[in-house]
């Protein structure tokens, strides 16, 4: 661990944030510097997704990965986004202060929330800085794949086809390999900070996206609650793909929710990038994205003529981004991403056991504290006093996600019915559902607090 390694990591992540923020500038426009600051977390996640998606395609076609290539990608992606922004007539951000948006009490709540989240992130930073590589999946295949990209400059056939999880998509190994280049060596201790950056960026993205849409007390209380649930506390900095796929999916789903309310087209560009990133981060990412887009198709039925072609374009981009990696591993005789016969041969008894397991895991307070219970309260409040359309959309998405988790257990006959993480992925899978619950709650209680649903755009 050296200061040079930390500085290198900081520079890499700043570069990713610049790429994503220029993407946002081109897609949305950022009139004030406060907009840049507020949406910098979203910009960072977009940068991670865009960088990962680009490099997945480049590695599949055999472009060698290296430090200069990483730098060139960051510069080129920023340049392309900048050129698109200029062509679309986006103005350079001006002014630091926007119109006043809240009372003194709101400002106090926001400042307190930022302080408490910041304090926790600072403690996690110190923890990550000197953390050794302990997690089995990390040293069994995630980091070997990253080392292979770093040392051999591509999808090395021996490592990528003989390690465990050969169908797992490569965005996390790509990010790790970029981190090794940025640090100047394969420093498997300091590289835990890369996962701290992902966490901090994800938290900033959620807060920035919700800031103007919900009361501060709802935003910061939900965010803090989700950050301190036991399961996340143990696994936030584990160098695996679970936290990143959850963040990319949940922030994308949040953008979909907001798009249903305000219909702003730039959100769809973000959703396409985030879901494409999720689909190339972990296999579940594709399932999560398909479920979220499916629910959105249904929710946008009243304005299907204008909404569906745009949603279909988003779905097309996600699928197009996901295909090359699938072609690569199939070309190397690797199968097993989808369950055999999609689970059609399993029994009703197993289906019921799978549902029961998913339910037990979701309502396990030793994993998720009270999040699922307060989610039910928030949904009830929104259905009774708030935005019923919003509550219906979020309920449908959460139910489908829940059923998706049960289907995973049901459809792989080799998975035992157990919450043991070494044997069944249901706990990791449920993390996305709980994070989505935490992000949805401010919108739900906020709509109930405002005493009535918002008018459709």
């Amino acid at each position: 661990m050296t200061v040079r390694a930390i500085a290198g990591l900081a520079a890499l992540n700043l570069g990713l944030a610049v790429v994503g923020t220029s993407f946002l500038w081109a897609a949305r426009g950022l009139p004030r510097w406060t907009d840049v600051l507020r949406l910098s977390g979203l910009g960072y996640l977009l940068g991670v997704a865009v960088f990962g998606v680009i490099w997945t395609q480049l590695l599949v076609v055999g472009v060698p990965f290296g430090g200069w290539a990483v730098l060139a990608t960051l510069v080129a992606a920023t340049g392309v986004c900048g050129a698109v922004g200029v062509r679309r007539g986006r103005s350079v951000p001006r002014g630091l202060v926007g119109p006043p948006t809240g009372s003194s009490l709101s400002l106090f709540v926001t400042a307190s929330g930022i302080a408490l989240v910041g304090l926790l992130l600072e403690a996690l930073f110190r923890s990550a800085r000197l953390q050794s590589l302990q997690a089995f999946d990390a040293w069994a295949f995630w980091v070997p794949k990253a080392k292979a990209i770093y040392f051999f400059g591509g999808l090395d056939e021996q490592i990528f086809t003989t390690s465990a999880g050969p169908t797992y998509p490569p965005i996390v190994p790509i990010l790790d390999a970029a981190a090794f280049h940025a640090m100047g060596s394969v420093d498997v201790v300091t590289f835990h900070l890369q996962f701290w950056f992902l966490l901090a960026g994800g938290v900033a993205a959620i807060a920035g996206c919700l800031y103007r849409h919900v009361p501060p007390w709802a935003l910061w209380s939900s965010l803090l609650l989700v950050l301190v649930v036991p399961r996340f506390g143990e696994g936030l900095l584990t160098p695996q793909a679970d936290v990143l796929v959850d963040l990319l999916f949940v922030v994308g789903a949040l953008q979909l929710t907001l798009w249903l309310r305000d219909g702003q087209g730039w959100r769809l560009a973000c959703i396409a990038a985030l879901f494409a990133g999720a689909a190339l981060t972990k296999r579940e990412g594709l399932l999560y994205s398909a479920l979220a887009l499916g629910v959105t198709f249904g929710a946008s039925w009243p304005r299907r003529r204008s909404a569906w072609p745009r949603l279909a374009l988003v779905a097309g981009i996600v699928v197009a981004a996901a295909i090359p990696w699938r072609l690569w591993y199939r070309a190397h005789d690797i199968t097993g991403e989808a369950p055999p016969s999609l689970g059609a041969s399993a029994s009703l008894h197993r289906a019921l056991d799978s549902l029961r397991l998913s339910l037990d895991v979701l309502f396990d307070v030793s994993l998720w504290s009270v999040v699922p219970f307060v989610l039910l309260l928030a949904l009830a409040a929104a259905f009774v006093w708030g935005d019923r359309r919003l509550a219906g959309f979020i309920t449908a998405l959460l139910v489908l996600l829940f059923l998706g988790g049960a289907w995973v257990t049901y459809s792989y006959p080799g998975l035992p019915i157990t919450a043991n993480e070494a044997l069944n992925p249901i706990v990791r899978y449920t993390g996305a559902l709980v994070l989505l619950a935490g992000v949805s709650m401010p919108l739900l209680v906020g709509s109930a607090w405002e005493d009535g649903p918002e008018a459709p755009p």
């Binding site: 923890s127 050794s132 590589l133 498997v188 803090l224 609650l225 006093w385």
Partner: protein, 136 residues
């Protein structure tokens, strides 16, 4: 109902936040207390019986070299994970060195050395661990 929601959430935060903060601090302290070798080896400490094998292998096998792992019967000092996961860990730890069946370097875990006639002992430790080098 919204007030009730907020109350439950705030109580949960009051209960959970100090624990999460303390856990992160304790984890930071525990990580700082590790020596540089324990930190570098990480999960391998519960798989490989002797760290010295790992660093000897890194010192002996060139970066473009190949190695193979030869596993014998479990011996005293090995963990429950050694037989099953030693090769997986070594593949990770020793990269960019690759594995190959006919590799010049043999990481011997209580293996039958007579299976490698002419191989010289490059390093030897306790618990039946050794590094053999095939003479070309």
């Amino acid at each position: 109902m919204v007030a009730y929601w907020l109350l439950v959430v705030l109580v949960a935060i009051v209960v959970r936040y100090p624990g999460a903060f303390t856990h992160a601090n304790e984890s930071a302290r525990a990580n700082a207390a590790l020596d540089v070798f324990d930190r570098e080896v990480g999960g391998g400490n519960s798989v490989i019986p002797d760290q010295a094998l790992l660093f000897a292998a890194r010192g002996s096998i060139p970066a473009d070299g190949t190695f193979t792992v030869a596993m014998g019967a479990p011996q005293e000092g090995w963990t429950d994970l050694t037989v099953t996961f030693a090769e997986t860990f070594l593949r990770y730890f020793l990269l960019p060195r690759r594995t190959a069946p006919d590799a010049r370097w043999i990481l011997c875990f209580g293996c039958d050395r007579s299976a490698y006639p002419g191989a010289a002992v490059e390093w030897e430790g306790d618990d039946g661990l050794s590094i053999l080098k095939r003479v070309p």
